[in-house]
Structures are given as structure tokens and as C-alpha cells.
């Protein structure tokens, strides 16, 4: 049995709690959060978000990629957000490998040559948050008056620490 069936069952219980209500498509706080896919970070709970509050973008590492910029442009220009939070975390999977070794492993496991691809690993989470905040500031697709903040989330304690 796949876990998908479990999720569908859990969702039946959620529907009863949810009730029927139409919230606006535009996020109430006008914030988009860029963070990691990590399973130990539940973004809504950790930041106190209610349904309808904020866009949540997640990929491996919480890195600012072309796809994140695509998503933020839609978030801002179609759906009215004006603030971005970059949130990376401790003990991240993006800290467990280097591009060259990972490419060699994938060549062997999957028979695919990805030697020219950057999987965006990093060493230091504060540094990677600063790098990604800078990428946002430099992007011609992100208006200069958009507020950009950064933080690191500790997966053991749930605590966010601001990155200046």
C-alpha cells in the first residue's frame, strides 16, 4: 500500500474540521516564504500562519532558483505579495553532499550524466540565506521596494534565528 492512501484517509477527517469557506486568492499578509522541503519543518505552525495568510515556496535547500523567481513574480504581480522571507534550517540535506560526488553517484545509479548541473548544496545555513537574499535583491524581476528578510530554523528546537 502506498502512503498516498493514508493521506487520502487523513484528508477525510480534515474535511470535517475545515468546513466550507471561500478565502481570497490573494494572501492576507502579502508575504511569500521561501524555504526548504525538509520534513521536520511545518511552516504554518512554526510561523503562526492561518489559512490564507502567506505563500509558501519550498525546494531542496530553500534556494532561490529560476523556478522560485518565476513563482515569486506570479506571487507579486498576480497575487499582490510585497514581502519575502528566506528561511533555511539546521541539519539540511543540502549540506550532505557535493556536486561532483553526487553527479558521479547519479551516473552510476541512474546512468544519467548530470555533471554540468548544480544541485545547490551549501555548507553554512546563515551564509546560504545571505546569498539567496542577495540573489533576490539583484533580480530585475523583484521590485526594489519589496521587503526581504532571512532566518535559520533549528529543526531540533523549532526556533527561528534572524539572519542580518
Amino acid at each position: 500500500m502506498s502512503y498516498f492512501e493514508n493521506f487520502m484517509k487523513a484528508n477525510q477527517a480534515y474535511v470535517d474540521l475545515h468546513g466550507t469557506a471561500h478565502l481570497p486568492i490573494k494572501p492576507k499578509t502579502k508575504v511569500a516564504i521561501v524555504t526548504c522541503m525538509d520534513s521536520r519543518l511545518h511552516v504554518a505552525q512554526a510561523l503562526g500562519l492561518a489559512l490564507g495568510d502567506a505563500h509558501i515556496l519550498r525546494n531542496a535547500g530553500g534556494r532561490v532558483t529560476e523556478d522560485v523567481i518565476r513563482s515569486l513574480v506570479i506571487s507579486q504581480q498576480q497575487l499582490g505579495t510585497r514581502e519575502i522571507v528566506v528561511l533555511h534550517h539546521t541539519d539540511c540535506g543540502a549540506q550532505t553532499f557535493k556536486n561532483e560526488e553526487f553527479a558521479a553517484y547519479l551516473q552510476q545509479e541512474l546512468g544519467v550524466d548530470v555533471s554540468n548541473q548544480d544541485f545547490l548544496p551549501f555548507r553554512d545555513a546563515e551564509e546560504s540565506v545571505r546569498e539567496d537574499m542577495e540573489l533576490l535583491r539583484q533580480s530585475p524581476l523583484i521590485p526594489a521596494d519589496v521587503e526581504i528578510s532571512g532566518a535559520v530554523y533549528d529543526v531540533d528546537t523549532g526556533r527561528m534565528t534572524v539572519v542580518e
Copy 2:
């Protein structure tokens, strides 16, 4: 005041609830969920996920992009996931525009030429889930034995409906 300050305050309360505990870096269910950034979808609650259960990937539309494939390869080959759920939803921001008009608007608003970029809008959420499940099946970077499921989430009721 930015909303970031509110999130930091809410996080202080969350830390007290969280306590200190180290969960494994590898997700317990071995599932990665690919879904939309929409503010009205709280993935953990809607699918009954506990901390540590599953990777959650989110972008505009929940579309399968190069960055999603990058993230899934890390999720699977570094962190042991073996199942993917593609979850799109009703009333999506990716249904509110077309590439050509959006590019013209961005040229005017931001002075940037994005006329050759696909922002990945779609019309029908079931169809876009099927398209993205097919992209995953065709990718040489996703092993053939990875289980792939799809569903559409109703933002008004919280209900997930399976896409075959």
C-alpha cells in the same frame, strides 16, 4: 512594520510547544509531495502529516520543473524517498493569466523582457496534475519503480480528490 517580525513573535510561542527533539533527516513515510504555494493549503494538516513524515515541495501551481526534479533527486538519492504525490488545487493563481499577456504586463511594470519564458499557467487542475505526473514518469532522473500519485485539493472544502 514587516510581517516578518510577527512571524518571529509567533515562533517564540511555537518553540515552547516544540520542545527539543532530534528527528531523523530522512522522511519517515519516504514520500515527497509536489504542490502549490497557495496560502489556503496547509499541507501537513490537510494530509495528516506529523513532523518528520514527508518532504513538501511547493512552487507556483505545483508544477514539475527542473528545480522540482533537482529537489526530488536529492529527496530520493540522498534522503531515501520512494513515492511522489502531485497535488494541484481549485481556484489556482496559475489559472488567472496567460503567458503572452503576463509578459506584456511585466515588460510594462518592470521593464524586463520575459517574452520567451513559460510561467506554466494552466486551465484545468486535473489535466495539469496528469501532465506533471507524466513528466515525472518520463524523467530519466526518477527511477521507474517510484510510485507516483495525483490529486486535486479543493480550497473551499479542504477535500482532496484522486486524479487517475
